[in-house]
Subunit: 134 residues, 4 copies
């Protein structure tokens, strides 16, 4: 497994599995979002407060590679690293591993930006500071 | 099939089916909610406007009987009738039938109330009027 | 809080919240199902093995009372007790409490049966034994 | 709007919207999958039959660009085109437009392959024929 800035460990829930007996493709985006939001919470970022300050974080693009399937009964480790992609964009490199054998199941790049109160993309300095980006 | 005040016809989506190859139990509540909201839209009720007037509709109890399962490829008919249960409570009698043979799949009673701006249950007269309840 | 045979503690995930900022009504059924399946796993019941033996557990009815809403950021405790309702039916009494103040959010009765290989309801003795029902 | 091989028209359902009042990012993958499965059904491909023949279609990668948000009350048009990407891979170019003003909301590339009975990627000729790929 890679080194992460943040990771959580969770169990597959049976209602997340589809007719093929595996976790449905769209459910991994739920896992990825929950991991990002727990990470933000962990470093003290509160969406409500950010929004009041006129900072609106939004996802603009996702790239997800499905490497191997999670199944009923599996536990998984979901980890992320943040990277600065440009003056206006940041990215989350995210990985989901099956816990039992640390097999890579999903690898994703989630690209986002922040929109200021005038509706224009802008990464405020205090966001960059708390994220530890350069 | 029963006579309804309102009904819609929809297709089962494959991601709604679980490991047993049938629509997962919790998904029927999505079907039931969507049917109620489409009904309200149909009779001209807009949640945003209701909320501005201090009317907050909320579900307090559901009773759902699972009679037969919907599967991938099925279409279904989801119908409802509204009833006044008490001065403070209304109910939706809801039924979901498989379209191909009109077999009853789910039968439900969804009970709700309206909470006024003081946080107390109250069914305003104009809500009763537009619903045609007595 | 009541005494339970089994309980788990989980966090609300932001994608489970709807436009009103609260956990959507249908999502509680996901919580309730996941709690039941974790309980069955905990006492050594494996669905696949049960099915091979011709035992098909199924939910026939749910009654859910919504007492108070869970919100983004909340953690909750989901507990259950099993009861024998009749020679052919069992029930799960389920409760979901907000962790911070132990306020009751959802109270539910989930009724099920087991269908044998001939398609008839039947509660086999070894199922009754492992559940500790009388 | 682009020209499509296949498209469907659907309504946003309120339970698909999140705290921000917009359709949650992960839900678009549900829309995209449902559109692909309806397309396959439309051209006469049945997953069960394909699987019996030892053909297992699977998604290996998705790229999704979020251009604009769908909201409660919106209807949308979801269209696709299939393309052959390599001897072993096919792709679905998918687009979701808001119906009212034909504004592009989501643009996606969904890449898949078919795994034969020996677990190796293979696109059988009859699959290529029915898809009209070259």
């Amino acid at each position: 497994m890679k080194e992460f800035q943040f990771s959580i460990e969770l169990d597959v829930r049976d209602y997340e599995c589809d007719m093929q007996g595996v976790v449905n493709n769209s459910v991994y985006q739920n896992y990825l979002e929950h991991t990002r939001h727990q990470y933000l919470k962990d470093i003290g970022l509160d969406f409500a407060v950010l929004t009041e300050k006129g900072m609106n974080l939004m996802v603009t693009r996702v790239e997800i590679d499905y490497k191997s399937s999670l199944r009923s009964g599996d536990s998984y480790i979901s980890g992320l690293r943040m990277v600065r992609l440009s003056p206006l964009r940041f990215g989350f490199e995210q990985y989901i591993y099956r816990k039992s054998d640390q097999k890579l199941c999903v690898q994703a790049l989630v690209i986002g930006t922040n929109v200021n109160s005038k509706g224009r993309p802008e990464l405020p300095q205090d966001l960059i500071d708390v994220w530890g980006l350069e």
